[in-house]
């Protein structure tokens, strides 16, 4: 890429664990690339696979869903449903031809600021290598 490609990554972070984990990464001044935009959702179970598909369509290059570890969910079953939905959604998106590395689901608890920053760096790294996502993307 001549001009340095800056990926546009959307992260759905669950309010009780991952969003607080992101804050923890902030308070301990961890650094991760500015390519990540975080959308706060009450629970990873709130993320509708259609939102993820909409993100790709509107121009996101990678989507990351961060939720509580199974068993820790504040609403006690939200992340289990999220896991089932995205077990199917990832396979279906790959079946449609969208690169499966562009969607990732991670369990990050409120205390894991370090893990949050690491996952963000890793994901931004993978997506920059993959380049912009032109599949199922809207024409200008």
């Amino acid at each position: 890429m001549s001009v340095e490609f800056k990926p546009n990554i959307i992260c759905f972070a669950c309010n009780w664990c991952s969003y607080t984990g992101a804050d923890m990464a902030g308070t301990s001044r961890m650094k991760y690339p500015a390519t990540i935009r975080i959308i706060r959702v009450p629970c990873s179970g709130r993320v509708n696979p259609t939102f993820v598909m909409k993100a790709y369509q509107k121009g996101a290059d990678g989507v990351l869903i961060a939720g509580c570890h199974p068993g820790d969910c504040h609403y006690n079953s939200g992340n289990y449903f999220a896991k089932r939905r995205f077990l199917l959604a990832t396979r279906f998106m790959t079946f449609l031809g969208i690169d499966e590395k562009r969607l990732r689901m991670e369990w990050i608890s409120a205390a894991e600021g370090v893990k949050f920053a690491r996952v963000m760096r890793e994901f931004s790294e993978t997506i920059s290598k993959l380049g912009p996502n032109l599949r199922a993307r809207e024409e200008a």
Binding site: D23, R46, F51, S77
Partner: protein, 659 residues
């Protein structure tokens, strides 16, 4: 198009150092829908709040976006300010440009561009916001305290004194927890049971406190203010109502066994009460030890019992309680010495841990307070105390400091010296942590008056030789390797969460950290609350701490419960699900998803065009719904939506972030 006000906060240098705040507020000035955009040094300060209120009133704004720190910090502050200015608080949204932008990015240009885009996306979210009004839900004014140690009892007494019913669940047959096992307590050396038994007695007879010992919590459903908890009451095989506490059965019982209460230092009978001042002072039969259970014979206790209250076929009972708040006070245990290979891995009888020493030194203990060697009962001429056994040790996976060992080890040494004046007490330590009131003076007294020898260094190995224990250590101040022969070695093993704490956490859906201590809502600002609303923490369940701190924290937790019960009903978060009945077909795909069983079918009369129709639709019990939104994803036609995080809001946010 809504009239929206955007306020970008400098947060001193926190945000402005890597986000060009002026450029952001400049750019937002002419973003469609934004009527007013400004930046300010400290928006959370009072003048900052005033600025927001004034701007709302002057320009009759319909939505506010505050770009500052995390919503977990000041969302409620800004929403309260907007409410004061007459704007519905749920028209205010926070953009996190501190923890998730300025603090985590170094390149100023990128960070500013990201911040601007985040603010724009929040403006889009506010455009789709609607007025929400909190719900009032009924509240059960009864608290469940888990753990009958000093912290559990303090909470129970405080809340009971305030006039609310308390249920105290304790897994041991008697209350008192670890404190009942102590001999004297630092720094005043007053005897533990002397200061504890008044409390246990008071708990025993307090009208508002229902005592459920020998029981544990197995299930908890519902939400803050309306928990339903199931408590399993394990069988004691003695009918405690009929029993008069004469303890003839304990006397006559032929079977002796190791007493858990004495930590292996003393024996007890198959039917027994842990210690003389136990509350409730009623015996319990240990199913594993009692001869009758094994062979079906004996039954001596039945013969001697004057009121005939032995019931071998007693079953465990499951009791269900409606609870308003839960306080977790599950206390601590000590790291078993079997896990420390370098100190003999539990092979040597005369290498004991702190609690075992307490039992030997305790007047009500197996040795009636005379410090003897467990192996041969002789008075030890020299004792070596080893601090930080298992704590502050990364290899063993416990890097944290257990906080109380420095103090109780000094106390042990002092007690020993008071009994055996010419005895040698040596303490191997790394750093003495005596930060409490009167703590440092206590340690100095042990050194100067009682001539306890403090050697700064770690012990490499302890092994038995010719009946005595050889302690190989180092004295880092003189740089010499040290070899001491001792009659008794006391390990100050690490404080770990009580066994079963992690399982309790799963049952109550309260997270625990990697070591098993419960996660508090905020380390500095909310130490007594857990992440789950309505569940509070007290004592060592949250982190190792000494008795004064435990009592103060327990009183804090009690205060939290009492404030919660002071109102007649709770104000619920209005960000709950809502159904658009015109679209809902009543397929109830959402029903099995709801963790709080808040969705029920209902027959409604709905006007469609010119006809009234009777149809089945889903309805939400606003009280039960906690706003997780998992049901709105299951709804195919989008009839089920979550106010506060609605499909429209998230989609708008998403679209503006992807531009």
């Amino acid at each position: 198009m809504k009239k929206i006000g955007v306020f970008v906060c400098w947060c001193g240098l926190n945000i402005s150092s890597t986000v060009d705040v002026e450029k952001a507020s400049e750019e937002l000035k002419n973003y469609p829908g934004v009527f007013y955009a400004d930046d300010y040094k400290y928006l959370c300060s009072d003048p900052g709040q005033e600025l927001i209120k004034k701007t709302i009133v002057d320009n009759k704004l319909e939505g506010i976006v505050v770009a500052a720190c995390s919503p977990n910090m000041h969302e409620s502050t800004f929403r309260a300010a907007a409410e004061a200015a007459g704007l519905n608080p749920y028209r205010v949204e926070i953009t996190n440009i501190r923890e998730q932008a300025s603090w985590v990015h170094s390149n100023k240009e990128d960070a500013t561009a990201k911040a601007i885009q985040l603010i724009k996306s929040t403006v889009e979210k506010v455009k789709k916001s609607e007025d929400l009004f909190p719900q009032q839900i009924p509240l059960t004014k009864k608290v469940l305290v888990i753990g009958g140690g000093i912290s559990g009892m303090t909470v129970a007494l405080e809340v009971a004194e305030a006039g609310y019913p308390v249920i105290l669940v304790e897994k041991e047959p008697q209350i008192g927890g670890n404190m009942a096992k102590l001999s004297e307590t630092f720094p005043t050396l007053d005897c533990a049971s002397c200061i504890l038994t008044p409390k246990t007695a008071e708990v025993g007879r307090h009208s508002n406190i229902t005592l459920m010992t020998n029981s544990e919590v197995i299930e908890s459903t519902g939400y803050f203010g309306n928990f339903t908890v199931k408590v399993k009451r394990k069988p004691t095989f003695v009918d405690w109502k009929k029993c008069i506490g004469c303890m003839l059965c304990q006397e006559k019982c032929p079977k002796k066994t190791n007493s858990d209460f004495e930590h292996g230092m003393g024996k007890r009978k198959a039917i027994s009460v842990a210690f003389p001042q136990a509350i409730p002072y009623r015996p319990i039969i240990s199913e594993k030890e009692c001869i009758y259970f094994k062979t079906g014979k004996c039954k001596i206790c039945v013969k001697v019992c004057p009121v005939d209250c032995i019931e071998f076929e007693q079953e465990e009972k499951i009791i269900e309680e409606n609870i308003g708040a839960i306080v977790v006070a599950s206390g601590y245990d000590l790291l078993p010495k079997e896990e420390l290979g370098e100190y003999g891995q539990g092979k040597y009888a005369d290498v004991i841990d702190g609690m075992q020493f307490e039992r030997i030194a305790s007047a009500s203990g197996p040795t009636e307070g005379v410090i003897k060697r467990p192996s041969d009962g002789k008075i030890p001429k020299s004792i070596v105390f080893i601090q930080c056994a298992g704590s502050r040790d990364n290899q063993k996976g416990r890097p944290y400091c257990s906080k109380i060992c420095c103090m109780y080890t000094a106390k042990h040494a002092m007690l020993y010296k008071h009994q055996v004046h010419d005895g040698e007490a040596t303490i191997f330590y790394m750093d003495i942590r005596a930060g409490g009131k009167g703590y440092e003076e206590f340690v100095q007294r042990a050194i100067e008056d009682d001539h306890v020898l403090y050697l700064r260094g770690r012990v490499a190995r302890v092994y038995e030789e010719d009946g005595r224990l050889v302690v190989l250590g180092v004295d880092t101040l003189s740089g010499e390797q040290v070899r001491i022969e001792a009659d008794l070695v006391v390990l100050a093993t690490a404080v770990i969460p009580s066994i079963g704490a992690k399982a309790l956490g799963q049952t109550l859906k309260v997270g625990t950290d990697t070591y098993g201590f419960f996660n508090e809502a905020h380390p500095k600002l909310k130490p007594v609350e857990s992440m789950t609303k309505g569940v509070f923490l007290a004592g060592c369940a949250q982190a190792p701490r000494d008795i004064p701190e435990t009592v103060s924290q327990a009183t804090g937790a009690a205060a939290k419960v009492i404030t919660m019960f002071s109102k007649n009903h709770l104000v619920s978060d209005p960000q709950v699900a809502k159904v658009n009945e015109k679209i809902c077909v009543g397929c109830l795909l959402c029903k099995p998803i709801c963790p709080y069983k808040a969705i029920e079918p209902e027959i409604v009369e709905v006007r469609v065009g010119c006809r009234a129709e009777k149809r089945q639709v889903a309805t939400i019990n606003k009280g039960l719904c906690q706003g997780c939104g998992a049901c709105s994803v299951a709804c195919r036609s989008g009839a089920m939506n979550l106010s506060g995080f609605s499909n429209e809001q998230i989609l708008e946010e998403l679209k503006s972030l992807c531009l």
